[in-house]
Amino acid sequence: MRPISRAVLRPYVCPTCRHGISAGRRRFGSKSDSPDLYDVVCVGGGPAGLGLLAALRASPITSKLKVALIESQDLRKAKAWDLEPNQFSNRVSSLTPSTVSFLRSIGAYDHLDVNRVQDYQDMQVWDGQTGSRISFDWSMETSPFEDMRTVATMTENANLVRALLRRIADLGDENLSLFSNATVASIENGSDLKPEGPDLSAWPVLTVKPTGPAAETETPKRIAARLLVGADGINSPVRSFADIPTQGWDYGRHGVVATLALDEPATPPFPASKRTAYQRFLPALGGPIALLPLPDNHATLVWSTTPENAAYLKSLPTPAFLAMVNAAFRLDMTDLTYMMGMQSSSSDSTSHQDELTWRAQHTPLPSQIPPAATAVQAGTVASFPLRFRHAAQYISPRIALVGDAAHVIHPLAGQGLNLGLADVASLSKTIQYAVSHGMDIGDLLTLERYSSERYLPNAKIGGACDLLHKMYNVPGEGPVALARSLGLGVVDRLPFVKSFLMKNAEGY
């Protein structure tokens, strides 16, 4: 039998008063049942998560939304991040011009420390096996009267994160909750707050727990999300809550990174402000080595190679490590394979350098090699595993995945962060459209605009990087090597094809 409704039993109270009473009772009586309601809850405070927050806060259409961000690291430390002018973090990314224009449009680019970022206008890419090369040089495309076009802009991730945090702070803290030093303890569906409250049974409700010293004293918070955004990386908890599977594989390769100081270039660049990025494919060693410019003759190294080689490189004393890096841009595959196996000992730290000097005398050097690396910044040699992942979907009711939670790709084209920020640009535009058209921002009909805009481009670029990785992992002078050199040679000689490729790489 249906219970007698409360409305019948209650004596008459005018509607306005009743509203006040019931609101008060809900807050007091059923505290555990009714979570705080947010429009957007973003899990993860990396460049993608913070970029989304800054984009939403910067747009007049979405600035009124109630938003929250949950990050396990200390965001105050990230905001106060600072390094000596000549020191550079080893976590560096290249921003394509379209990413830069997105960052400008949300007002974050001006908060970057410009003395720590470096544009480059030329890119030299060649095959260590066959010697065939392609140069991405915008100075041929532009007239002498205009500024040289930028291929990409190098920035430390910490500089970018700090810029985004400063921009978010700039935009005020109304309707904004930053849960720093906090983790998501659980995500579950809400409940139907009958009869007075709304039905939250399709809303994700997160329990946010503080970490560190505050964990003892502060009680966990429960927050409900109209739209829950997973910007929480490759092992995304939001993605597993949404039960979205991923496809992918591990490359069995590691990326060795380091911050290097370079020699003065043998011939000064022309024009003087022109900087060049270098990448040489090393089929015999498992992947390309890249040297990307940082300010003041510094460079960041990304060397994709097998885990054994990566471990060997990390174990070398500094002079031997530098000799290996310089050798990798100069010597042929046989010499490199030999040097990768040389016994190293701290007493005999010049053996690699001697080997390089002797072998380089007998190797014809191409013209495009980078200046020699002269020093490694202490503590910057590190490595990370290379993986490919692509989520089966980016969206689910009241859920959207961005950045690494949705896709992880091979870093050889430096596109990972750019794809993540392109996701964020698209999702923030989708949310703006939804708000201005009365749509529910967590509804599938809203979110499908985002996923249809981003899924194919991400799959295309991730697939292209995967294909390049596989093509340049076939050692020897076989048909694949021939096809590679033919392909690169043809592209390099056809200006319009090349310019098309360069524009694609830029993200236009």
Partner: protein, 363 residues
């Protein structure tokens, strides 16, 4: 983790039934016949009984984004854009002056959505009503309140259930800025509909409205919307002309009557009857949704509205009827659905199928 997944379609038939049984019957239901679905379709209404049962049967999938109504859901943002383009030309509210665009407008317009169905448009507009009525309007539709009516009990019940799943919309339902009424336009005009609001039914404090049909209440609405309704009018009990006249009567002077419908031409027959209602995977709307013979052409709508404006003006406004018809502000633009891309407004495509139209009641 599978059990934690958000339900894609939280509204099952069972919850619908329980929602029906838990609502306290309104006085009108006691007075009327026991068959709940058909009660509101009495002889004075423009609503066809066949149409009513067809759409009530579709209720369970109304809000499924991949279901029968997907094409309507996709069209919804265009409705907002079309309304915004009309309001940019002027509104019935004196405070909304189009020339003073420098200051953000406050939301002052009262909407009436006739034939709201499951509430696809009504709920989306209610979402744009600001929680703080004095704050700036978040969208150019400037909604301050929304009253949505439909003769189908099932659909109104389902619309209310669905609205509870959005706390913002739910709050507007509680405060009465957003209302779903299971009634007809004729009853709204006669002033009989107010007793049906959920707020008054729960307090049981409402007294029967003593207004007699002879006294016309002052028009209350700044915008009356009529989306995909004209083509579902029952020719046996009503005519589009009398129906549109009633819509105009609900409008304040300077207000807009805005709608969309489908034209009765050869291309629209092929698109809407042959292709759109074809079996899966070609078709996008359920078979029997449309009757081509009921479709109306832009010229017909325009003619009825001219006539309707004159008839509506008979009750009290001093200006002559023909002057009103001549100075009628009329807008019309076609809309085309392109699979894979979505709905697009295409001026000049009014005769191909779907089109939006609007008319402003002169001040």
């Amino acid at each position: 983790m599978a059990s934690l997944r958000p339900r894609a379609l939280p509204l099952s038939v069972r919850t619908l039934r329980s929602a029906l049984s838990s609502t306290r019957p309104s006085p009108n239901h006691f007075l009327s016949a026991p068959a709940s679905t058909q009660t509101r379709a009495h002889s004075t209404s423009s609503v066809s009984a066949d149409e009513l049962s067809h759409f009530s049967a579709l209720a369970s999938s109304w809000w499924d984004p991949m279901g029968h109504s997907r094409i309507l859901h996709l069209m919804n943002p265009l409705r907002h854009e079309f309304i915004a383009s009309c309001l940019a030309e002027g509104t019935s509210s004196p405070s909304q002056n189009p020339s003073s665009t420098s200051t953000p407008s406050t939301a002052t317009l009262n909407y009436l959505d006739v034939g709201c169905g499951g509430g696809i448009f009504a709920e989306s507009l209610a979402r744009t009503i600001p929680l703080d009525p004095t704050g700036p309007a978040p969208t150019p539709t400037l909604a301050a309140s929304m009253t949505a009516i439909d003769p189908s009990t099932d659909l109104i019940q389902m619309a209310r259930e669905h609205a509870r799943m959005d706390p913002t919309v739910h709050e507007h339902l509680r405060t009465g800025r957003f209302k779903y009424l299971n009634t007809t336009l004729e009853d709204v005009l006669a002033g009989n509909a107010v007793t049906l609001t959920p707020a008054s039914s729960s307090t049981a404090a409402s007294t029967p409205n003593p207004s007699s049909p002879s006294t016309q209440p002052a028009p209350q609405y700044d915008v009356v919307t009529l989306f995909e309704v004209l083509e579902h009018i029952d020719p046996k009990t009503s005519t589009p002309l009398s129906f549109l006249t009633n819509c105009l009567r609900a409008l304040k002077p300077g207000g807009w009557l805005i709608g969309s419908t489908i034209s009765r031409t050869l291309p629209s027959f092929i698109l809407n009857q042959v292709i759109a209602e074809a079996p899966w995977p070609i078709g996008v709307v359920p078979r029997g949704t449309h009757e081509w013979s009921k479709f109306v052409n832009p010229g017909e709508v325009k003619g009825w509205l001219q006539e309707g404006l004159m008839r509506a003006a008979d009750t009290g406004v001093s200006r002559g009827g023909s002057a009103i018809a001549e100075g009628m502000r009329w807008k019309c633009v076609g809309a085309i659905y392109i699979p894979g891309i979505g709905w697009k407004m295409v001026p000049g495509s009014e005769d191909w199928g779907n089109y939006f139209w609007a008319v402003r009641k002169e001040i």
